[in-house]
Amino acid sequence: MIVSKSVDKIYVVNEVREQKELDFKPFHTWKSSDETIWIAFYRASDGILLRFPGLSDFLVSVTGKSVEAHPVPGTGKGTLEHLYHNQVLPLAISAQGKLSLHAACVATPFGAVGFLAKSGQGKSTLTTSFAAHGFPFLTDDSLILEKRHDGFYALPGHPSIRLWEDSEEKVMPETAISTREVDYTSKARVAAAGVLPQATAPARLVRIYVLGEDDEIRITRLGPGSAVAALVAQSFQLDVEDATALTFQFHALAGLCEVLDVFQLDYPRQYGRLDDVRNAVLDHLASERKSE
């Protein structure tokens, strides 16, 4: 048995085992773009079983305070760590009553800024671009928030960034060392230590940008309804049938929208325009701050 040394200390890897077919159906599934099941959510007697077909099972306690992994034979340590940090932990955290969003986050002189988007929309590339220019990143994929008396704080995540090969070549410093330890994707995981600055302490979140897909660099304020809907769409929720948890999450996200502004950031996905995008965001942060 290996207990993870990660900050959360709730993760235990148990014995390797095959995924036996269960005699009950999942109550929820997440599917990949090709409609194959990515995660199946099963209700177990002692929590919720998350099955990543062909990779691993994770049993998350009802309270979200403990996680047991049962990897399938042949699943690498890197894959297991990735599944845990990017998928399972945010779901477990949601069961603890905290907000976890599918978002990247960087620290700026104005405060922490989140970039909210589904997979493949450029969060990691944009985050790397900021970090490579001296703005420490907190996370590139799963943003866990902690509510404090003066606002919501972004917690530092895994000290690595996952990039496709072309993004890695274009935006990563040459000294970066990448590994391809995740079995189901060719995305590289690039260790940030000594290469990119990572914030090591929680930082107060001041702004969220929802990444849009238009080709012009444009920043548009989202109304409350659109903002809450965007946040909900990219929030992790362990039990989507738990009305109490959903209501709690809804009010927590609405509370988040009360204390910070949410904007849509459209920009062309061109490496040559990343400097312009970064500057547009920083100018926007500065100008909005002055007008407050």
Binding site: G223, P224, V228, A229, A243, L246, A254
Partner: protein, 91 residues
């Protein structure tokens, strides 16, 4: 056309933000947004007012013709009812 009293259906929760109201139907997972006038009507429904009182209140608070106020209130009430967000009061 609806008249009488309505109440927020169980499993529906709402939050007012910057003058607008965001509504969640927990059962379906659907979200809805109401503008400032819609938010006021929602508030009046929550307070247990019947449709006639809601129309009078809107007429008193906004610069609008009586027939327009009545039409808009009834349209929104019909819409909220058809979406399962409110239901006729049972008592």
């Amino acid at each position: 056309m609806n008249s009488g009293k309505f109440e927020i259906r169980s499993g529906v929760t709402a939050k007012k933000l910057s003058g607008e109201t965001v509504i969640l139907d927990v059962e379906s997972g659907n979200y809805f947004g109401l503008n400032a006038v819609g938010s006021r009507i929602w508030e009046l429904i929550e307070e247990g007012n019947d449709v006639a009182v809601i129309c009078e209140t809107i007429l008193g608070e906004y610069k609008v013709e009586a027939d327009v106020a009545q039409r808009d209130v009834r349209q929104l009430v019909d819409d909220l009812k058809s979406r399962g967000l409110i239901e006729a009061t049972r008592y």
